[in-house]
């Protein structure tokens, strides 16, 4: 049976998801982003990237736990929003903060582990964004596509580590995101173990 089409869902998530960006632009134009505008934009775009990344990882657990299928419909959109915010986050750093000076940027990426892990997370998201189309799934074949897209587990973990290492002292907030990520990945592990048990040949009746 075909599930209901929910035609409003994707546009709503897109509009709601872009709201923080619109608000940033509005506050930037009004000059209410505080004395350090670049820092404010960096923090907001980075946090949004992480939230959307965790959102995309929540779709499968929601289906497993509650049988909801609607999250899976927006998973691609949510993942692409995460990528878009991550790119904006990096561009804010590279263009606005560092003035596109390649030397300091390369030094940051190679010498400072908190920037390195953030950069690696962004790089890992690139192939996932590129292969997000249905045509790419067909071309690659679903098993290979699925294996590739498991890189998001690594990217999200690096994203959390990036956040933890960035914070000066109080790690409460990044640890909350870390706990959510651990939960989302844990549900997958439990499911994988159960699947393997089920797949084992049942003892045949004599």
């Amino acid at each position: 049976m075909a599930s209901p089409p929910l035609p409003w869902l994707k546009p709503a998530v897109l509009v709601g998801g872009l709201a923080p960006l619109a608000l940033l632009a509005l506050q930037g134009a009004q000059g209410t982003l505080g004395p350090n505008v670049i820092e404010a934009v960096l923090n907001q775009t980075g946090l949004m990237a992480l939230i959307f990344l965790l959102g995309s990882l929540a779709c499968t657990p929601l289906k497993l736990l509650f049988g909801w299928t609607w999250p899976v419909r927006i998973r691609k959109l949510v993942g692409l929003m995460a990528f878009a915010y991550a790119v904006l986050h990096f561009l804010t750093y590279a263009v606005a903060d560092q003035g596109l000076k390649l030397g300091p940027i390369l030094e940051d990426i190679t010498k400072r582990k908190f920037i390195a892990v953030g950069f690696i997370a962004l790089v890992l998201l690139v192939p996932l964004a590129v292969t997000s189309t249905n045509a790419a799934v067909r071309r690659m074949g679903f098993p290979a596509w699925q294996r590739l897209h498991r890189l998001v587990y690594v990217a999200a973990s690096l994203g959390v580590i990036h956040f933890v290492w960035r914070v000066k002292k109080d790690v409460t907030e990044p640890f909350i995101y870390g706990a959510v990520l651990a939960l989302l990945l844990g549900i997958r592990v439990v499911e994988a173990v159960r699947k393997r048990r089920r797949a084992r040949p049942a003892p045949r009746p004599a």
Binding site: W8, T32, N36, D97
Partner: protein
Amino acid sequence: MSDKKAPEPPSSEITPEKQYLRRRELIKNAGLFAGTAAVVGGGLYLLGMKRTRPMDKFVPDAGELAALPVSGGKGSGPYDTDESRTPYEDVTTYNNFYEFGLDKNDPARHSHTLRTRPWTVTIDGEAHKPQTVDIDQITSWFPLEERVYRMRCVEAWSMVIPWLGFPLGELIKRVEPTSRAKYVAFTTLMDPEQMPGLKRPVLDWPYVEGLRLDEALHPLTLMAVGLYGKTLPNQNGAPLRLVVPWKYGFKGIKSIVKITLTEQQPPTTWNLAKPEEYGFYANVNPQVDHPRWSQASERRVGEFRRRPTLPFNGYAEQVASLYAGMDLRTNY
């Protein structure tokens, strides 16, 4: 479209029955769309926007703070910079004062609970005349000078602030240090009733800082009681704070209640919390990177482009000799 005023619409304009029936569904979908978009946007706002709430109403009204008489120098002495001053709004809303919260705008929001009168400061330790003095008594001892200093935060932002205060050295001389005095230790007020941030064990409270005695006696080292011609706002460390312009901002301990002359190097809060990131000396040094970022450049708050960081924050001529023979990579 017919140009005649037809009493009846042509059959081509009659809404097909299917579409007519879908009208309710369209309205329902529009509602669901708006509702979901609002929930998603609102959720993201709650998760991430707390740091960018507008600050307008938290900027202390200049009228609320008393103007201070400047009887000493007024912003044109040998140590003053003529670089353009950071706006008052920025100086008073972009603060690190963890006793009032971790976000830069928390101190401006929460520090109104701090009571700065009556306020006493205890000066003790290796001194011939240890004493506990009222803050107004202390300020009456010295002519207040305006000093326009650069301030460089370890987080790579900087400001130019016209402080009002008196040299710390003058205060220390009054209590007559003994020959054993080698260092000066400072302590911030610790009262959870007045400082809500103390309820979280973010740092090892109370906040403590220290200087070597010769650093403390240097004429650049200031005890500030005001800025921009007015009493110090609470978020900037009222009623008494330290300003050491060639060191990173975290050395500038706020809301001081105790000054102790010591024989041994005192513990300092950030050095205790993360010794690999924050040294005892904390001299501004573009050559020594912070583990998480380069210190070679900085952003003046309110500006867009970075500027190169100067050794000793531009005060090398005055203070570099204090560190002759020291390896400032080890003693950072």
